[in-house]
Each structure stands twice: as structure tokens, then as C-alpha cells.
């Protein structure tokens, strides 16, 4: 994982009305970084699901609390006029000040039981190459997600099969 500075930082309030802007920003930038259309949409979906979970579970539907999102283009960004994108992958970090929970409790359920709910974490783990939930040092949670442009064979993230 790179220790470099993010290329983009976003702070939004925890109002679901704003999620569309965050996910479309990420989709749009991902396309420009060279991700294929379906991958760009997957990244946007993962971001949206993560925001929904913070808003519903972390902040218990309070709509005026902060959520921070940062994007780091692994391998860097193309400069104007260069012939191809050097971006190898996208690292997205989403942080909040919401209630802390044991990262092991954030897990997807088996999908063979068809019922509403319980799909968000599955979606996030399915579409991203790396997904790490952790508690931030003082308050809140941090979710780090990585998607590579040409992904390696997928690692097991500890999600149930």
C-alpha cells in the first residue's frame, strides 16, 4: 500500500442526498484514470454502499455528521499529453466519527437466503480487490478499499463463500 498523499479529498455530511455526488465523482475520475466502464461503476457502487452503511449504522441516520473520503491513484495520474495512463489502481479511504464497532462484526451474510438487507458488505467485498475495516485511533471507523486496473487473482478477504 502506498504512503503517498491522496490526489483527492472529500468531506460530506452524512445526508444520503449527497451520496450521488460522491459516487459519480469517483466513477468519473476512475474512467479518466483508465478503468473500464464496468470497473468504474463497480468502484462507485462500493463507495455508495460504504457511505450508506456509515449513514445507517455508524451515524444511526443522523444527517449532519462528517464523512471523509480520499482517493489515491496508485502509480500516479497521467499528465496532459502523455500517451497512456500510469494509474495502476485506485485506493479509497473512507473515514467517519461514528460509533466504533469490531471490524469482525462487519461481514456479509450468505446470499442463498433471499431477504431484503445485508447485501452492502457483500457487494463491497465482491467488487473491490482489497477491503479493510478498522477502528480509527480516537473515534470512528476507517474503510480502506483498493481496486487494481488489471487485478491479480483475487485474495480471500475473509468473507464467507
Amino acid at each position: 500500500m502506498s504512503a503517498e498523499q491522496p490526489h483527492v479529498r472529500l468531506e460530506i455530511l452524512s445526508n444520503p442526498l449527497l451520496n450521488c455526488g460522491a459516487r459519480e465523482m469517483v466513477a468519473s475520475m476512475s474512467r479518466r484514470m483508465g478503468f473500464a466502464e464496468d470497473a468504474a461503476c463497480q468502484i462507485a457502487l462500493a463507495v455508495d454502499e460504504a457511505l450508506c452503511n456509515i449513514e445507517r449504522h455508524g451515524y444511526d441516520r443522523q444527517t449532519d455528521r462528517p464523512i471523509w473520503l480520499s482517493l489515491h491513484a496508485i502509480g500516479g495520474l497521467a499528465q496532459n499529453g502523455t500517451s497512456s495512463s500510469p494509474t495502476e489502481g485506485l485506493k479509497i479511504v473512507i473515514e467517519d466519527e461514528a460509533q466504533q464497532i469490531d471490524p469482525n462484526l462487519i461481514k456479509s451474510r450468505p446470499l442463498d437466503e433471499i431477504r431484503p438487507g445485508g447485501l452492502g458488505v457483500h457487494i463491497i467485498r465482491e467488487v473491490m480487490d482489497e477491503v479493510i475495516y478498522e477502528q480509527r485511533p480516537n473515534s470512528g471507523m476507517r474503510l480502506t478499499m483498493i481496486k487494481m486496473r488489471n487485478p491479480q487473482p483475487k485474495k480471500d478477504n475473509g468473507a464467507p463463500p
Binding site: P16, L17, N19, D38, C41, L45, D48, C52, R115, P116
Partner: protein, 116 residues
């Protein structure tokens, strides 16, 4: 509903009630859609059909999927037939990621859904 968010139109054609949402079905839009769907479903007769035309839905997330699953459960309870149609590639992808594309009856166009 927000001025700007999801708008939902429904109409009856023969034994089919066609619901056409326009806009994103996400955490912001799903609650209003869900409550409108419930109202529409409560008027459906056993043996009738509910067609949800998603051709004007550019985006859906797990809140939207939850709404669709609720509708499927209502269909089982009330014995009406639920048919989805018009999925854009982006919306179809999320059904696939959630392994729900084989669970719902999904048709290409509204015409195909009405003929089903």
C-alpha cells in the same frame, strides 16, 4: 418525494400494473419508492401482474435491491406475478453482483414483460 429525486409513474394495462420509476433508486430515493410500491401492491389481485420498468433508472444500490426483494416477497404472499424489465447495464450488474439476476423474472423490454 424530492422535486429532483426519483419520480414514479404507474398505470394499468389489462391484468398488468406497470410501475415506471425514473431516477436513481438509492438510499435517498428508495424509501419513497418502497412506500409507493406498497400502496400499489396492496391493490393487486391474486393472479395479476406487477411489471417494474427500470429503463429510466440509471443507478440502483442495495437499498433498491432490498425494495425489489420486498416486492418479490409481497408477490409470493399475495400470489401476483412480479416481472422486472428494461435494466440498464449498470443496474443489471448490481443484480449479478448480489446473485439476484436468476432469482427475479427479468425481461428485456416492457413489451417482452407484458407478453410474458
Amino acid at each position: 418525494m424530492n422535486d429532483s429525486a426519483l419520480t414514479i409513474i404507474s398505470r394499468v394495462e389489462g391484468d398488468a400494473t406497470i410501475v415506471s420509476p425514473a431516477g436513481d433508486i438509492d438510499l435517498n430515493g428508495a424509501p419513497a419508492f418502497k412506500s409507493q410500491l406498497r400502496t400499489i401492491q396492496s391493490a393487486l389481485k391474486p393472479g395479476g401482474r406487477l411489471v417494474i420498468d427500470l429503463s429510466a433508472v440509471p443507478y440502483m444500490d442495495s437499498s433498491g435491491l432490498a425494495t425489489m426483494i420486498e416486492s418479490m416477497q409481497a408477490a409470493r404472499r399475495q400470489s401476483f406475478k412480479l416481472i422486472l424489465c428494461g435494466l440498464t447495464p449498470r443496474v443489471r450488474a448490481i443484480f449479478e453482483i448480489a446473485k439476484l439476476h436468476t432469482v427475479f423474472t427479468i425481461k428485456g423490454t416492457l413489451a417482452e414483460a407484458l407478453a410474458a
